[in-house]
C-alpha cells in the first residue's frame, strides 16, 4: 500500500515567505547564522523553492507570547499552522520489509 500524503503544514516554508516575520528562512538565514558561528559559507543558489526549516529572524522583528509576533511591516499576527502554507511535502510510506533502515526514530 502506498500512502502518500500532502502534509503541508506546521513549519513549512518557502523562500517567498521571507517577509513573514518569523519565517525569514533559507539562504539569508543560513548565512546569518553561519556568520554568527564564524563559519565560512560558500555561495549557494538562492532560487530554491523548497522549504527551508530554520533560519534567522530579521533584526527588529518582535515576538511576544501575548500579542504575537510583529513582522517588519507592522502586522501583528502570529503565523499559524496552515494546510495552505505551501512548501514541499513530506511523504511517508511503508518500506519494503527487506529494506534495512538507515536510522531509527524512537523517543528522545
Amino acid at each position: 500500500m502506498r500512502a502518500s500524503v500532502n502534509n503541508r503544514g506546521l513549519g513549512q516554508r518557502r523562500i517567498r515567505t521571507v517577509t513573514a516575520g518569523l519565517a525569514t528562512l533559507g539562504v539569508a538565514g543560513s548565512l546569518a547564522v553561519a556568520g554568527y558561528l564564524g563559519i565560512a559559507t560558500p555561495a549557494v543558489a538562492s532560487t530554491s523553492t523548497t522549504k527551508q526549516p530554520g533560519g534567522t529572524s530579521p533584526a527588529g522583528t518582535r515576538h511576544t507570547g501575548a500579542r504575537g509576533s510583529s513582522s517588519a511591516n507592522g502586522s501583528t499576527s502570529h503565523r499559524r499552522a496552515s494546510s495552505d502554507d505551501g512548501g514541499s511535502t513530506g511523504t511517508v510510506r511503508r518500506a519494503p520489509s527487506a529494506q534495512p533502515p538507515v536510522a531509527t526514530s524512537g523517543g528522545s
Binding site: 513549519g11 507570547g65 502570529h78 526514530s105
Partner: protein, 308 residues
C-alpha cells in the same frame, strides 16, 4: 540502549553520542560523510552553548540569572527562542518553552545521564501561577524572560538543529543528507532511490513501523518512556503539561509524526503527548501522517501513515 545504536555504521554513516542521545548522519555520498559530521558537530556545539539548561555558561542560564531584565542575545538564541514561541503559538501553548524551572524542580535539572546515575533531588514544584510563553518577549535580539523562568528549548531546539544540519550538509556538500538526533530526523537534498528507510520504534519490545521518507522533511517521535525518572517515589517523564506543570498523563507512550520539517513534526508530537485524548483530533486537523502508541500498546495511525 537506543535502537539507533544497534544499526550498522558503514560507508556514508557517522554516529556519536550527543545530548544524552545519539547523533547519526547519513549521506548519499560517502565521501562527504566526515565533513558532514564536522559541520553537524559545529552546529550542535553552537546550539548547546546557546540553549543548554545544563551548563552554567550557556545563554539561557545566564539570562535566567538576570532576573527578568532585557538582555541582548545572540542571533542563534534569538532564532531558537523565536522558533519556540512560534511552536507555542501553533499549539495553543501545549509546547511551552518556559517550563525549565518546573523540570528542574521535578528533578530534571541535570543531564539525563546524571539523573539516571543518582537521586533526582527533593525539590517540590511550586503551584502558584507560573509565567508562560506569553510572558516572553523577543524584540530582534533583545529578549525578556520573566523572573524565575529558565527557558527549556529542548522540544524545539533539537528538531530545529536536525533540520538546520540536514539542510546545511545538503547545500554545502551537495549530497543527500539525513540527520538524526535521537528521535528527531531531518532529511534534505536528493534522497536515495529507495527513499530514506526509517525504523520507528521506541525500544526493542515496542511495536515497530518501517517507513520511508521520500523527499525533504522530517520525522519525529516523542515518548514518555525514554527520559523518565523517579521523584519522591513517583515516575516522571520529561514532557510537562503547561497547565499542571506536571508530566502529561500517559495516554500515549509514543507519538510519531512525519511532516515537512523535523521541527514541525516534533512540535506536533510533543503537543500530542500533552493533549492526551485530544491528540488524534489535533493531528487529524493538521493533516500530518501520524502514529500513536497508546499506554496499552495499541497502535493508531492517521492521515496516511502506513498501516501496521
Amino acid at each position: 540502549m537506543p535502537l539507533v545504536e544497534t544499526l550498522p555504521i558503514g560507508p556514508g554513516v557517522a554516529q556519536w553520542p550527543v545530548w544524552t542521545t545519539t547523533a547519526r548522519v547519513v549521506t548519499t555520498d560517502p565521501s562527504a560523510t566526515e565533513l558532514a559530521r564536522c559541520l553537524v558537530e559545529e552546529e550542535l556545539a553552537a546550539v548547546d552553548l546557546a540553549a543548554s539548561r545544563f551548563r552554567d555558561d550557556s545563554e539561557v542560564v545566564r539570562i535566567a540569572a538576570t532576573g527578568g531584565g532585557l538582555v541582548h542575545v545572540s542571533p542563534l538564541l534569538a532564532e531558537l527562542v523565536a522558533v519556540a514561541l512560534q511552536a507555542a503559538a501553533d499549539t495553543d501553548g501545549a509546547v511551552d518553552p518556559t517550563l525549565g524551572s518546573q523540570l528542574s524542580a521535578l528533578g530534571y535539572g541535570r543531564t539525563f545521564d546524571e539523573i539516571a546515575g543518582g537521586s533526582a533531588g527533593r525539590a517540590s514544584v511550586t503551584r502558584h501561577r507560573q509565567p508562560s510563553w506569553r510572558d516572553v518577549v523577543l524584540d530582534g535580539s533583545v529578549l525578556s524572560v520573566p523572573n524565575g523562568v529558565i527557558l527549556d528549548l529542548g522540544a524545539t531546539a533539537k528538531a530545529w538543529a536536525a533540520d538546520r544540519c540536514a539542510n546545511l550538509v545538503a547545500q554545502r556538500l551537495g549530497t543527500g543528507a539525513l540527520v538524526a538526533l535521537g528521535g528527531d530526523i531531518a532529511v534534505a537534498g536528493t534522497a536515495p532511490a529507495e527513499g530514506w528507510t526509517i525504523l520507528v520504534q521506541d525500544g526493542p519490545a515496542e511495536p515497530a513501523s518501517l517507513v520511508t521518507l521520500e523527499d525533504a522533511g522530517g520525522l519525529a517521535t516523542s515518548s514518555t518512556l525514554g527520559r523518565s525518572w523517579t521523584h519522591w517515589n513517583r515516575r516522571m517523564h520529561h514532557i510537562l503539561d503547561p497547565v499542571t506543570c506536571r508530566p502529561a498523563p500517559e495516554v500515549w507512550r509514543t507519538v510519531s509524526v512525519a511532516a515537512a520539517s523535523c521541527l514541525a513534526a516534533n512540535t506536533l508530537t510533543t503537543a500530542a503527548v500533552v493533549r492526551g485524548t485530544g491528540a488524534p483530533r489535533l493531528l487529524r486537523d493538521r493533516g500530518v501522517p501520524a502514529r500513536l502508541v497508546g499506554s496499552d500498546g495499541s497502535v493508531t495511525t492517521l492521515n496516511g501513515w502506513p498501516e501496521p
